[in-house]
Symmetry: C5
Subunit: 272 residues, 5 copies
Amino acid sequence: MIQHADDAITRDGKILILAYDHGLEHGPVDFEPNPETADPERVFELATHDAVTALAVQKGVAEAYYPYYETDVSLLLKLNGTSNLWMGEPDSAVNCSVEYAADLGADAIGFTLYGGSNHEIEMAEEFRDAQEDARDHDMGVVMWSYPRGQGLKNDTSSDTIAYAARQGLELGADVAKVKYPGSADAMAEAVRMAGPTKVVMSGGSKTDDRSFLETVESAIDAGAKGLAVGRNVFQRENPTQLLDALEGVIFEELSAAEALRQAGGDPDAAAE
Amino acid sequence: MIQHADDAITRDGKILILAYDHGLEHGPVDFEPNPETADPERVFELATHDAVTALAVQKGVAEAYYPYYETDVSLLLKLNGTSNLWMGEPDSAVNCSVEYAADLGADAIGFTLYGGSNHEIEMAEEFRDAQEDARDHDMGVVMWSYPRGQGLKNDTSSDTIAYAARQGLELGADVAKVKYPGSADAMAEAVRMAGPTKVVMSGGSKTDDRSFLETVESAIDAGAKGLAVGRNVFQRENPTQLLDALEGVIFEELSAAEALRQAGGDPDAAAE
Amino acid sequence: MIQHADDAITRDGKILILAYDHGLEHGPVDFEPNPETADPERVFELATHDAVTALAVQKGVAEAYYPYYETDVSLLLKLNGTSNLWMGEPDSAVNCSVEYAADLGADAIGFTLYGGSNHEIEMAEEFRDAQEDARDHDMGVVMWSYPRGQGLKNDTSSDTIAYAARQGLELGADVAKVKYPGSADAMAEAVRMAGPTKVVMSGGSKTDDRSFLETVESAIDAGAKGLAVGRNVFQRENPTQLLDALEGVIFEELSAAEALRQAGGDPDAAAE
Amino acid sequence: MIQHADDAITRDGKILILAYDHGLEHGPVDFEPNPETADPERVFELATHDAVTALAVQKGVAEAYYPYYETDVSLLLKLNGTSNLWMGEPDSAVNCSVEYAADLGADAIGFTLYGGSNHEIEMAEEFRDAQEDARDHDMGVVMWSYPRGQGLKNDTSSDTIAYAARQGLELGADVAKVKYPGSADAMAEAVRMAGPTKVVMSGGSKTDDRSFLETVESAIDAGAKGLAVGRNVFQRENPTQLLDALEGVIFEELSAAEALRQAGGDPDAAAE
Amino acid sequence: MIQHADDAITRDGKILILAYDHGLEHGPVDFEPNPETADPERVFELATHDAVTALAVQKGVAEAYYPYYETDVSLLLKLNGTSNLWMGEPDSAVNCSVEYAADLGADAIGFTLYGGSNHEIEMAEEFRDAQEDARDHDMGVVMWSYPRGQGLKNDTSSDTIAYAARQGLELGADVAKVKYPGSADAMAEAVRMAGPTKVVMSGGSKTDDRSFLETVESAIDAGAKGLAVGRNVFQRENPTQLLDALEGVIFEELSAAEALRQAGGDPDAAAE
């Protein structure tokens, strides 16, 4: 954690990462609810929204589209990732070098660590190289800290998420992306463990507007600095409205209901 | 995917790769239908056909023959590949460095990724190095994206091929070579998933002229940018005629029947 | 073992390492007895105590806090370490390069070796690189010499700890941190085996003031040069008082009772 | 395959490699029939025979003796090799770097590939590095192409040897050393598959003069460019006579009988 | 084997290596018969004896003591070695780089190869790097050639030791240290197989003066160039007397009895 290393992907110390590596991690199935989201251009356009402080993509997508968006979008290059065609103990290929990410104009790097996996040690050592190289290039470092693998039964328990957040601090991440541990108290504990490393919650699979925003509100109240969101934005019919609402919750610290109202949504609507 | 990185192996944005690495991948058995095709010179001669935009060979064959063809043939150096004497979980040796390929005059590199294999992660990391080195040498990057291995029952299902095409985009290939997924709709889906990465269908084992060309026509109609073909050309008695017909289907967007007629073939002949 | 290589982390040849890598090795559970100790700043403040000759932390904690303490604290950067989410044969990821540690201002490096583990050979080779790089940067080398793994039933037997101390000497550590082998005689044997490599005992889990200090006194009497302590300091209600007492035992060679009395503690109190 | 890369180890395009790495591969047992052949000097003397175009030895033997023979003998440094004390899936240690071989004055490198072994991929990648480094030093490349390992029942079948020869071409060897596939037709097929890569037959275990020479004659007639021979020369009582006869068969294309007669042997003698 | 590469560790072509890496390989138990031998200084003092041509120690011991002995002792830095806390298939960690050994003033390097182990190939490749680096620094190369592991029942049979000695020659060692194969004839065979590589016998566990010296005499008569000895010297009450006697047997080629008499020992004493 180096002070200000993540300035390029934060706004007033808050973060909203639009994550779009699902084509690699999950495959085309994640684009089915909203087929045109298979087109990266749609998501780059969304990333120009003021609420979005960084767009997380893999190397190939950055190569093809970022040249057209480099003035309007901050690039968080996700260095590792793997298809789910492969079904072994959790692991992730390093698909992009830090130097290449820097050449592409990345502002920060993203890196997954599967704590508890049989590949944890190898992944931690790959993270070391990436983190130190990122420091050389003055790029921020975001860890997707996802305990997973042999012996881990419930990977969103309060203890596990707190540990995951702490790994972010101990290993030198500026930002730790963790799953929501189920309650504001548990999120507060994770935030406390991460110390100066900023904690952002991971959006997860799509839920309805109101309950999603309330979870985000609860995380922000608990001290999280923001959100990394993918499906909950791009699988929506009106993703801009949700980004408007997220801007309210994260940067203006509005309640979920108020933010949704200001964004033109219906806070009382039932789940989609 | 870098715009124009693959110019040297395309013609009007279309691609016809003549692939000739069967001697390594399958062994001499693939030359039996047409024994003289064991002689690389025969295939280099075919590669001078206007329809062929690149010839894909392994390092040793390029070393021995390409010096005589470098003005007439675009070289796509296939970097990895393995004999089928070895029968483990799908994997492939990297037989040529990018720097050496550049010294040989290669215009592009070819690289196999077996998504779903226990070696997927290692192969993806080898691909990373090859891709980045190829960028340094301004060479195009073609991925043989072939899901295969533990847990993959049907490797030509629509979902699998669409995922394979998407891996090409996400990991930074200019061209993704995939198997034909059985229908034009499925191919269109793969093309859509690949975005700006050009999809070419893999020729597969030899079939009769008409049905082969109709499959190619269907792939082109679905948005594929071309074909990578080996046995369906060099195992034929009259490979030039088929190349003439392929030129019609791929570059002039003729129907299979019309292209075959113009090439002097008999569109109504039964399978050989 | 290079004479004076460890000067920056010793005082009159004695050592008191405050170890604070528990957030990585054990997770948040170690902060529960004294929740505010999750905040590294609390521990950096403790490390400014005159008795503390070095503070051992992982890279991320050093990055975030050491810039504010570099004049008052000697930094012992612990290079390797792993979460206990992972439950395989003992091993440890190298989370920080020596060069990066030097850039952070580290005075010495710390490195765990699990003698007897199936990963002993790999860890010893990683230690080799770290030790030689540390010599290049004039940094001291501290080995956490912890036999552990397949076939090792009792890892604090006299023979095992003596062997562990000897490994420190043979492999080139300036300081070997070993567990207390149960008796002063056994500790003396370990000290004898380590020759010029300084032996420090590892504090272990928290016990009451008096018995903890008596163990330290016994180790010092046996020739140990000091102590590496974590939980027995930071899990205490009054850690400063214990550091005062440790200063007496280690640097002034007072008895445990006398040192505790001078520090204002009650030598006759029952265990907490 | 680079034209003329192997000039230093051929004579009029033909090759006779005297192989002497048995001390490593098989151990002292191979010297028992003729105990003084344990002394490398005896074999270096034989290698000065005009018929011998290269002597294949491991690094240590080259270091000790080649300085005295560098004007009279062409050195083919065998880079990899392993004792048969080890009994796992076929593999081979790389005992000498190409740079070191060049420093020793080697004219060419030798490298074993066990196609079909579980280590084929690793060996092929080691071969890649060796081959490319050899090109940098203008040294010829000889592949010992020996399919062996899991799943390979008969490693001298016609198909297997043809495949082995083809691997030599595809991977960039100037010369492929293969076992005799049992008939002239099968050898001709292997030669055809290797294209411009020169095929030499491997001498194998010792047989009588006449039948050995007839096998060589058959191989030469089938298009092989020569022979790599060890035990069939150095285990003989009169190795010079056999080298004289081999010169006739390989370079003058005499029949086995005629060559043996000219060399002073008895073409009608029964097997030893 | 490079002529004169080992001059710094020989005297008139003969060798007496005092080996002292037992603290790493066997642990403190080897110092029990003579507890003060745990102190490396005692053994460095012994190494100043005229009979000793080199002292073999691990990196850490060399770092701590060699600066005080560099004018009186030739340093043979043992590069690899492992504790016996680890109980897997024989293997050895490389604990010191050649460059670092050179910086420490080493005259030669020592390296163990466990022929027949599942790690033989990896060890041979590590030996390659060490041997070539040692050549760059004009240091001699001593191989501890110890067949051991899966499938090796009797590792001191004549055939095994002869093979071990030959591996020394083939792989480029100046000196091969082998176990005594039980008879002078078997030792002579090992010497013959090693050619110009000097064979030294390994001292093994402690026996009485007379029978130990007779074994050494027998080895020298058989052509061995000397001895590597540890426990048979430092576990003795009067190690200097034994070194005096060894000087007689090895350098003056006296009989064991005569050498022992001249050294002031009692050739007729029963075993200790």
